[in-house]
C-alpha cells in the first residue's frame, strides 16, 4: 500500500485480556519497527524485524509482549494479560533499509486498558 496501515485504530481491553495489534507496512519494506508511546512521552523502541527475522526485541517490557512477522510483511504485536500500564499508543514503522531515509510511520493503535 501507499502507507503503513495499523489496525485497530482504537482498542479498549479489560485488564487481563489478551490483545493483538496489526501492522501492514509499505510493500517491499524489509525493516519493520514497533514503538510504544505513553501519554505525553516520545515513542520508545520495542522491537525490530528485518524481513521475517526478529533481530532486536530488547525494548519489549515483559514476556507478556510478543511480536511476529511470519512472512516478512504483516506484523502482529500481541500483549497477553494486559495491565493498566500497557495503555499507550503503539506505533509501527517501516523502512526500505536505509536508516538515513527515516521511517514511515503508521497512525498507531491507541490501547486503553480498563
Amino acid at each position: 500500500g501507499a502507507g503503513v496501515s495499523q489496525s485497530p485504530r482504537y482498542k479498549v481491553a479489560k485488564r487481563g485480556q489478551d490483545v493483538a495489534l496489526r501492522c501492514d507496512p509499505i510493500s517491499g519494506h524489509v525493516s519493520l519497527f514497533w514503538y510504544q508511546q505513553a501519554l505525553g512521552q516520545g515513542p520508545e523502541f520495542l522491537t525490530y524485524f528485518q524481513n521475517e527475522a526478529q533481530l532486536d526485541k530488547s525494548g519489549l517490557p515483559s514476556d507478556r509482549f510478543f511480536a511476529e512477522r511470519p512472512e516478512g510483511s504483516v506484523s502482529t504485536l500481541k500483549i497477553q494479560r494486559t495491565q493498566q500500564e500497557d495503555s499507550a499508543v503503539y506505533l509501527c514503522a517501516s523502512s526500505a533499509g536505509n536508516l538515513y531515509s527515516g521511517y514511515t510511520f503508521g497512525s498507531g493503535t491507541r490501547l486503553t486498558v480498563v
Binding site: F33, Y35, G59, L91, F105, G108
Partner: protein, 115 residues
C-alpha cells in the same frame, strides 16, 4: 545511555513569525543521524528534516532549518514563516549509524500557531 532532551514542553508562535525548538542529545558514538519528526493529532509521525552528524553544513528543507552544534550535542529546529498547519508535537530523535536499528526520541514540544 542514549538520551534526548527537549526542554520546552510547549511553545507558541504567531502566524508568519519564526520559532526555534531546542534539542540536546547524549551519545558517545561519533556516527549518527539526527531527525525532527512532527506528530499532528492524527498520531502519524512525519519526517520534517534530517542531518548526518558528519556533515557540518546545517540541513534546510523549505521553511525548516536546523542549527547543529556537534560539540555541544545540540540540534535545534527553526521554523520560518510559521503556518497554522505547523501546529503539532515535534520530536527530536537520533539513530546510530553503525548499529542503528532504533530511534531515540525526546519527550516532544507542543507547538501552537496563533492566527
Amino acid at each position: 545511555a542514549q538520551t534526548v532532551t527537549q526542554s520546552q514542553p510547549e511553545m507558541s508562535v504567531q502566524e508568519a513569525e519564526t520559532v526555534t525548538l531546542s534539542c540536546t542529545y547524549d551519545t558517545s558514538e561519533s556516527d549518527y543521524y539526527l531527525f525532527w519528526y512532527k506528530q499532528p493529532p492524527s498520531r502519524q509521525m512525519i519526517l520534517v528534516i534530517r542531518q548526518e552528524a558528519y556533515k557540518q553544513q546545517n540541513a534546510t528543507e523549505n521553511r525548516f532549518s536546523v542549527n547543529f552544534q556537534k560539540a555541544a550535542k545540540s540540534f535545534s529546529l527553526k521554523i520560518s514563516d510559521s503556518q497554522l498547519g505547523d501546529a503539532a508535537m515535534y520530536f527530536c530523535a537520533y539513530t546510530l549509524g553503525n548499529t542503528g536499528n532504533q530511534f531515540y526520541f525526546g519527550t516532544g514540544t507542543s507547538l501552537t500557531v496563533i492566527p
